[in-house]
């Protein structure tokens, strides 16, 4: 069983940018890549309790706004100090102009 949740409309996020999405007490980050693809990860940096949606997207990297920790938002991979733990990623699809995120399976 899987749950696809509507996170936002596709045009709500600029290309090469990120947006925060809160759902049932959890927080996520929804990304739009320079190639116009959408991705989703947990919303908080794995280093400290900081919202990644306030950070900077550069190509396939999200940089945390507090300590500049970097993740590949497509894979969740931590790219070096001060982040050591990977981000959890979630499947995303776009239907009828809406960005859907799969939260459970």
């Amino acid at each position: 069983m899987s749950d696809w949740i509507e996170a936002c409309t596709a045009d709500a996020i600029d290309e090469e940018d990120v947006m925060r999405f809160d759902h049932e007490g959890r927080t996520f980050a929804i990304y739009r890549s320079p190639d116009d693809e959408f991705f989703a990860t947990d919303g908080l940096c794995t280093h400290e309790h900081i919202h990644l949606a306030d950070g900077l997207v550069m190509d396939d990297i999200i940089e945390c706004p507090k300590h500049n920790g970097r993740f590949n938002y497509k894979t969740g991979q931590a790219k070096g100090a001060p982040v050591c733990v990977n981000l959890k990623t979630y499947p995303v699809k776009v239907e009828a102009g809406k960005v859907l995120i799969q939260l459970a399976s």
Binding site: H49, L56, E63, P65, K66, N68, A81, P82, C84
Partner: protein, 364 residues
């Protein structure tokens, strides 16, 4: 908040006040940020290689020229001004390069950040692993007693220590001791409190590389019977440290501790362009702490954008010292005293639940 503070502060990273900061929510707290529209912030955060390539070429190019002149003029009185200039570029400009490249904001290209970070760390004698993590903690818990490992002036101020560090004496003493300890394979309890276990071996590796470099330089000095090799590598951390101490003390000196609003514990100072080059715009220190993602070259623009919400900057280094030194002297008698930054009418007020009446009373 100050009313509940014990009379004496415990700055140990594993001590009483560290524990207390965790219990009271001061550690890893949510800090105040001035509202900046997302589009504007994205523009400010944008990375570029151009400014840092230019500045690094000037910085390292000047050092090469000055080093050459120093070698040529060695033994004459004319080498003194040359080494004074070389020393500031080595022992002070390296501080701001270490800092900015540690944040990863100086260059757009990652390897350029990393390369300049390593060079600057060596010059300023800060282990590139240890200090990356200590600085992350400094940004998480800025001037939180027992949590921030980079508090330059603890209370009551140790003025002898401050004066010795104008020439880097205590800093270098500790840096050498730390290097030898790390090179021997030991990581202290304090270091372990902020360096993750999987990163600690890297601190040891860098300490061993540095030790080997210094051994070669010392051997060269002994072999040639001249101080010159050490005048070029190592000693400039002492005789050229004064500028980074001069500017660095202004960052938080005499201001509040144990607050979660950078407007209260950090100081922005307007400076001459030479100092700003050496310091890489870290004189915009409130702005840097509030938004560490903004590169040094964009800080003047950020300052212009949010100054309505910040205390007025000090108009000069001299003005900063005119308020800071009397505050240090008062803290010798009353360590709870601090300079309270007044906000303009256009600013959002401080969150008084975190720095209320008792703290204000200490400031008056």
């Amino acid at each position: 908040m100050d009313a509940a503070l014990p009379a004496s502060r415990d700055y140990s990273l594993v001590g009483r006040d560290s524990q207390r900061a965790v219990e009271t929510g001061l550690a890893a707290a949510e800090w105040y940020h001035t509202d900046v529209p997302r589009k504007a912030m994205k523009e400010l955060m944008k990375r570029e290689d151009g400014p840092a390539i230019r500045d690094t070429a000037i910085w390292l190019g000047s050092m090469v020229v000055l080093a050459g002149l120093g070698i040529l003029l060695w033994g004459t009185v004319w080498c003194i001004p040359v080494f004074l200039a070389y020393g500031v570029l080595y022992g002070s400009a390296s501080d701001s390069r270490w800092h900015e490249c540690g944040h990863g904001t100086a260059f757009k290209t990652r390897w350029m950040n990393d390369a300049v970070y390593q060079i600057a760390c060596f010059m300023i004698m800060r282990n590139p692993v240890t200090w990356r993590w200590s600085h992350a903690r400094h940004h998480t818990d800025t001037v939180i007693v027992g949590r921030d490992p980079e508090i330059a002036v603890m209370r009551p101020p140790d003025l002898v220590r401050l004066i010795l560090n104008v020439f880097g004496i205590l800093d270098v003493w500790h840096a050498v001791a730390d290097m030898l300890r790390n090179a021997a394979g030991f990581v202290s309890a304090g270091e372990k409190s902020f360096i993750p276990a999987q990163e600690q071996h890297k601190a040891v590796r860098f300490a061993r590389i540095w030790l080997a470099i210094y051994a070669v330089v010392i051997a060269l000095a002994v072999y040639t019977g001249s101080l010159l090799p050490l005048m070029l590598v190592g000693l400039p951390r002492l005789y050229g440290a004064w500028h980074h101490v001069l500017t660095g003390l202004l960052q938080h000196g005499g201001l509040a501790d144990n607050v979660i609003d950078h407007r209260l514990n950090s100081r922005t100072v307007l400076m001459n362009p030479v100092s700003r080059f050496i310091y890489w715009n870290m004189n915009y220190h409130v702005e840097h702490h509030m938004f560490p993602m903004v590169p040094y070259h964009a800080l003047p623009r950020l300052h212009a954008m949010i100054r309505h919400d910040l205390p007025a900057p000090n108009p000069s280094i001299l003005d900063g010292y005119r308020e800071m030194i009397p505050a240090f002297l008062r803290q010798l008698r009353n360590e709870d005293y601090y300079l309270r930054r007044e906000l303009p009418l256009t600013a959002k007020p401080y969150r008084e639940e975190f720095h209320g009446e008792d703290a204000r009373a200490a400031a008056e």
